[in-house]
């Protein structure tokens, strides 16, 4: 990893105390860097946070590494799908990495994240390993859901990642339920319920938002607006595509979702808000390079120029690369080395995942019910051992 080179004209500021708590930053003696987000935040019924974001060199470098890892993973998944090792539906997240990484930078593993089916990278950000991800995609035993979930059902309970859901919008009431449990159990944590611009038109979302606002639940609804609900552009699906405003009585914030520091700032702001006041909506203005899923070429409803334009101007990894280079935190060749390392990591993980066997046929019937807890339970043929009441 590159050591910190001398900082150029940026004044060295005292470390903000919150920096010490974040998992990405190293020891508190690192100088912090203040960066302005490229686009200011727009607030709805709330004062937006400041555009200046504090970060540290190691945080930026870790952003770069993690996002490159995610990008590489998604591209590798693309080729695995084309070689028929991954079947079914495969929804890729490349282009949207900044949202996953930015969220993680401001929260702890005790906060909960729940999302829909575009979940591979969020699983990684929450602490999942590459091997588990690829094994699950290929339906192998070593997968995070033992091969029984698939691309759309990644979960990691111990680090607060609740999936991984196939039905559009159904995860938002679940997310509000998680927030309810956090409030009930007085945990002092928040839930981020992620959904897309397509799901933003689901009724259950507004139902859940209403209940969350009524009960002051620490729920933050994050709309990852990549401007297309599969093949339908947002202006064709929503009368009001200003998704951050659609909460009406619930305040909202529009964030440049391709700028990882902006996402970090917004998430931190939202967490503080939600713990005190109840739900909030964040709209992440982001973009996906791939189509909706691997069965969608992604070019019938948008032009290739549009895609390459976004890639040139707004790509999240390139932004961080420019930041790192301009602050001379690493040289270009060091960054290229990181990318090569990441590529190797992904290839190794794929190789390891390929070696994992398919699930045992008896796994077809396991985990349908939870057996042996709490009450006397036995199967209909009374052959299984009864468990006794506690």
């Amino acid at each position: 990893m590159a050591a910190v080179r001398r900082l150029s004209a940026v004044p060295i500021r005292r470390c903000h105390p919150l920096l010490l708590l974040r998992p990405f930053s190293s020891a508190g003696s690192e100088p912090s860097i203040t960066v302005e987000t490229s686009v200011p935040f727009t607030g709805h019924k709330i004062d937006p946070p400041s555009r200046s974001v504090e970060t540290t060199p190691s945080e930026l470098l870790s952003f770069f590494r993690e996002m490159s890892l995610m990008r590489r993973m998604e591209i590798a998944a693309d080729s695995l799908y084309k070689s028929k090792l991954i079947r079914g539906f495969c929804h890729l997240y490349d282009g949207q990495e900044a949202v996953a990484i930015g969220l993680e930078a401001s929260i702890t593993k005790k906060d909960a994240i729940i999302t829909a089916y575009r979940d591979h990278c969020i699983y990684l950000a929450r602490g999942g390993t590459l091997v588990e991800a690829f094994a699950e995609l290929m339906g192998r035993r070593a997968g995070c859901s033992k091969g029984k979930g698939g691309s759309m059902h990644f979960y990691k309970k111990d680090s607060g990642f609740f999936g991984g859901h196939g039905i559009v919008g159904a995860q938002v009431p679940l997310g509000c339920g998680l927030a309810f449990a956090q409030k009930y159990l007085k945990e002092g944590t928040v839930t981020f319920a992620l959904y897309g611009d397509g799901a933003a038109n689901q009724g259950q979302l507004f139902e859940a938002l209403n209940i969350s606002a009524l009960w002051d639940l620490p729920a933050i609804l994050v709309c990852e607006n990549n401007h297309y609900g599969m093949g339908t552009a947002e202006w064709r699906a929503a009368k009001s595509p200003a998704y951050y405003k659609r909460g009406d009585y619930v305040p909202g914030l529009k964030v440049d979702g391709m700028d990882v520091l902006a996402v970090k700032q917004a998430a931190k702001f939202a967490k503080e808000y939600a713990l005190k006041n109840g739900p909030m909506i964040l709209e992440m203005d982001t973009y996906r390079y791939h189509g909706h899923s691997m069965s969608d070429p992604g070019s019938t409803y948008r032009t290739r120029d549009e895609i390459s334009g976004v890639r040139q101007e707004r790509d999240p990894i390139e932004r961080v690369r420019k930041l790192i280079l301009s602050h001379e935190l690493a040289t270009a060749s060091e960054l290229k080395d990181i990318e090569k390392e990441v590529r190797k990591q992904v290839d190794d993980a794929i190789a390891e995942a390929k070696e994992s066997p398919m699930p045992d046929p008896s796994e077809l019937f396991t985990n349908v019910y939870v057996k042996g807890f709490g009450v006397e339970s036995f199967g209909a043929d009374r052959k299984e051992v009864k468990a006794v009441l506690p």
Binding site: V172, G177, A380
Partner: protein, 398 residues
């Protein structure tokens, strides 16, 4: 379970040369002729059983067996909805993670008074009044359950839970499986269903048949105050999602239940009235129609065995099987629709497992495949009436 069913099927594959193949009966067919040799479980053989031998000690009674309430022990009398409330309250006292959410369950006390008095006692965070948003509050209950809470979700009428079907099917039933066992969903989804007193088509729905094929769910139906309390407690304690079906017309049934704490088994059926001639399988409100018909049947000389199956998913094939092995005739009386109902699944399960023990095709009396009409007389005829049960038993035992 599939493995055990297949092995049971293998065991019962012996071909009996004396068997005849019978066509499946329809309710409207006139009585079939044909002599059937009935070998009783004690070895006696009897021919046609029509109008002889009044069995004096087989008085049909509602709850006269050891598994249901006992008159010998001092207990306390209460109505079914009070029994549900007692069960709920005891579980909420016992485990602080149990909470109730539903429409008007809190301040109003529940539209059928099942949750009356709970909100002042436990507060607004444990007895939650939700807005009319079944899809989302069911989803929220499931999300809360993923973290370890044990919500009891009430649908004011079972029919309203159709709006939450996606959440119940995909998230409630399947999350334990698709997460590879990481998450348990210990929710209880309960509510009244069934045909009431002229409530109209949309408020008289029976959802047992819609939920029965959702993998991962357990379904139980209560019918007496005793089993209502026991099943409620068992459902709350179970780590699996349980749908508890109550019936609108049964809430005011009175019974004496024990003072001491008891929890019933979710997968067990209840022997209401042991008998010899025919097994009548039923659940929920139809139990009472069956028992009424049983009075008439006893006077006509039949000795029906009545089992309240209680567990709609999975079926208690042990109790049912033992009964079929004894009586060799099965009549299923249910309130859900004929098409794709609980009766059709039960019939298939019995045929798969106990074919060789059957002396007659399994008869199934279910509600008509129509939306429930408002007019009282028409509504009466959508559900099974005792007279039809008597006629069916007579036809079965010919």
């Amino acid at each position: 379970m599939a493995a055990s069913l297949q092995s049971a099927a293998l065991l019962s594959n012996r071909i009996d040369p004396h068997r005849r193949l019978f066509a499946p009966p329809a309710r409207s067919l006139p009585g079939r002729k044909g002599s059937i040799l009935v070998v009783r479980s004690d070895g006696r053989i009897s021919g046609r059983l029509s109008g002889r031998n009044l069995i004096t000690n087989a008085v049909a009674a509602k709850a006269d067996t050891p598994t249901s309430s006992t008159d010998s022990k001092p207990g306390h009398e209460l109505l079914l909805f009070e029994a549900l409330r007692e069960g709920l309250e005891e579980e909420m006292d016992r485990d602080p993670r149990v909470c109730v959410m539903g429409e008007d369950v809190g301040h109003y006390g529940g539209s059928y008074k099942v949750t009356k008095g709970l909100a002042p006692k436990y507060g607004d965070l444990r007895v939650l009044d939700t807005p009319i948003a079944e899809n989302s509050f069911t989803g929220m209950g499931i999300g809360a359950a993923m973290t370890g809470l044990r919500p009891v979700i009430e649908g004011m009428n079972m029919g309203f839970l159709l709006l939450a079907y996606n959440q119940i099917s995909n998230n409630c039933g399947m999350l334990h499986y698709t997460s590879g066992g990481q998450f348990k969903i210990p929710v209880v989804i309960r509510g009244p269903g069934g045909v009431g007193r002229q409530l109209g088509a949309e408020h008289s729905q029976r959802l047992e048949s819609y939920f029965q094929s959702i993998p991962g769910l357990q379904m139980v139906a209560c019918s007496t105050p005793y089993n209502a309390k026991g099943l409620m407690k068992a459902a709350i304690r179970s780590d699996n999602p349980v749908v508890l079906f109550e019936h609108v017309l049964l809430y005011n049934l009175k019974e004496r239940i024990p003072d001491e704490e008891y929890v019933l088994c979710l997968e067990e059926a209840e022997m209401v009235r042991p008998g010899e001639h025919v097994t009548i399988l039923t659940y929920s409100r139809m139990r009472y129609h069956v028992m009424q018909a049983a009075k008439t049947l006893v006077n006509k000389g039949y000795d029906p065995e009545v089992i309240d199956i209680r567990s709609l998913k999975p079926f208690d094939l042990y109790t049912i099987g033992n009964s079929v092995k004894k009586t060799h005739r099965v009549l299923i009386v249910e309130e859900c629709m004929r098409t794709g109902g609980i009766g059709s699944s039960l019939r298939a399960a019995i045929i798969d497992n106990f074919w060789d023990y059957l002396d007659a095709p399994i008869m199934c009396l279910s509600s008509q495949d129509v939306p429930t009409p408002y007019a009282g007389t028409l509504e009466e005829w959508t559900v099974v009436q005792p007279a039809q049960i008597v006629a069916a038993v007579e036809q079965l035992c010919q």
